[in-house]
């Protein structure tokens, strides 16, 4: 079950990387491909680091479950993966509007330039 959850998390980040026109990496960071995919996905998009700790927690919970099975830990890992899915999908939806949070990008910069040019 932990492997399925990890694979689900990787699939979410693959989707993000592919949407940005790149091939998802096959490499690993600290033995986790998930962390390598996050690193790849955050390149040039600093606000994507808002899910960095979520990815690290998924890896940590994966390791915990390797030590001993626990329904509580499994449930927490499932919630973490779900959070990653929601975050990335939400981010993909607003990507066209501009960056948010810590790396804010001018949402209306282009339209402001156009207004100045044409107005």
């Amino acid at each position: 079950m932990r492997a399925e959850l990890l694979a689900r998390a990787e699939a979410v980040l693959e989707e993000w990387v592919q949407a940005r026109g790149e091939a998802p990496t096959r490499e690993a960071v600290e033995t986790f491909r998930l962390l390598a995919l996050h690193r790849q996905g955050a390149r040039g998009v600093p606000s994507f680091n808002a899910c960095r700790e979520t990815c690290r927690e998924i890896a940590y919970h994966f390791n915990l479950l390797g030590e001993a099975h626990s329904e509580k830990t499994l449930r927490m890992m499932a919630l973490l993966v779900q959070h990653l899915e929601l975050f990335v999908r939400g981010k993909m939806e607003v990507e066209g509007l501009g960056e948010f949070c810590c790396a804010s990008r001018p949402v209306r910069q282009q339209s402001a330039v156009e207004e100045k040019t044409h107005g």
Partner: protein, 305 residues
């Protein structure tokens, strides 16, 4: 005497509105701990998300004006902002002014036009309310002043995403023992543990709550918050402690919305960390504004009051 004993206080817009209880509880806790606040005169909005999205340099100016008043007019050396958004924006402005000539030029130009002294990077130290209490008083002194232990109260500490991100604007963090961590922040955990609370392992403590989506995509925000609330409950928490008015409002509002829109009910309560510390210091719930919270904080505090 700690350099944080008396600081310039920048409450920011939210603390005059939805975060009113955070304002009153911060002041009440400071007073009980012998810390003093001098509110920045004629402060303005930090530029928040709205201005930052339209023109980041104007946001830098707006934050710099607050710092200019604190540094030049009030002769303060430290400004404290309890809101993550304000804290983040002041830190970001400080960083931009130190590293970006174009930002310095814009700030100088607008400051001259506005008729006040231009803020120079390095003139002021910006801290959060957590730094103020953790470094201004410390856990030992806090323990000495306790009147009501929070023993038995299980707390999930939620820091939100702007308190530690991006790392480069917080050069004082990640400096080893005694400093705050950007990946695993712990100052709120430390203070509440000193007040007797039992902190639960909470892996979503810095996760996104979807605050930026609230208007454009409310459903995603609601689902993100619901996930945070469920994780806190799965961790066994009675209460989620918050240290930002925007995070706090988001958790409370989307808890209600999750039940109405998605039929998903969660029962964990939200309280500002200053409200929890205030209870531990024997300050009355009304003075701490607990009745102003949307979630019924008193129900969770039954265990300790």
């Amino acid at each position: 005497m700690s350099k944080y004993q008396r600081v310039a206080y920048y409450p920011g817009c939210a603390l005059e509105g939805t975060g009113h209880a955070y304002n009153s509880s911060t002041k009440a806790v400071g007073k009980a701990l012998g810390l003093e606040l001098d509110e920045v005169k004629d402060w303005n909005c930090c530029g928040a998300m709205e201005v930052k999205n339209v023109d980041p340099k104007v946001q830098t100016y707006l934050s710099s004006r607050v710092m200019s008043i604190a540094a030049h007019e009030m002769k303060a050396s430290v400004v404290m902002a309890p809101c993550n958004g304000c804290y983040h924006n002041l830190k970001k402005a400080e960083y931009d002014l130190a590293h970006d000539a174009a930002s310095r030029e814009t700030v100088e130009r607008i400051s001259k036009k506005a008729g006040h002294e231009t803020y120079q990077a390095g003139s002021l130290e910006t801290i959060h309310a957590l730094d103020w209490i953790k470094d201004g008083v410390g856990e030992d002194e806090l323990k000495r002043r306790l009147k009501n232990s929070l023993k038995g109260l299980k707390v999930a500490n939620y820091y939100g995403c702007m308190y530690t991100r991006p790392r480069h604007i917080f050069p004082e963090k990640d400096k080893g023992a005694g400093s705050e961590s950007t990946s695993q922040p712990h100052f709120m955990d430390d203070l509440l543990a000193a007040a007797g609370a039992e902190n639960v392992d909470f892996p979503l403590k810095t996760a996104c709550c979807g605050g930026a989506h609230t208007l454009s995509d409310s459903d995603t925000s609601t689902k993100l918050v619901l996930n945070i609330l469920r994780a806190a409950e799965a961790a066994g928490a009675d209460v989620i402690a918050t240290e930002c008015p925007t995070c706090h409002s988001g958790l409370e509002m989307h808890q209600v919305r999750a039940e109405k829109a998605l039929g998903e009910k969660t029962t964990v309560k939200m309280l500002y960390f200053t409200q929890l510390l205030g209870v531990a210091l024997g300050i009355g719930p009304r003075k701490l504004g607990i009745h102003e919270n949307v979630s019924d904080g008193m129900a969770a505090l039954d265990k300790v009051l």
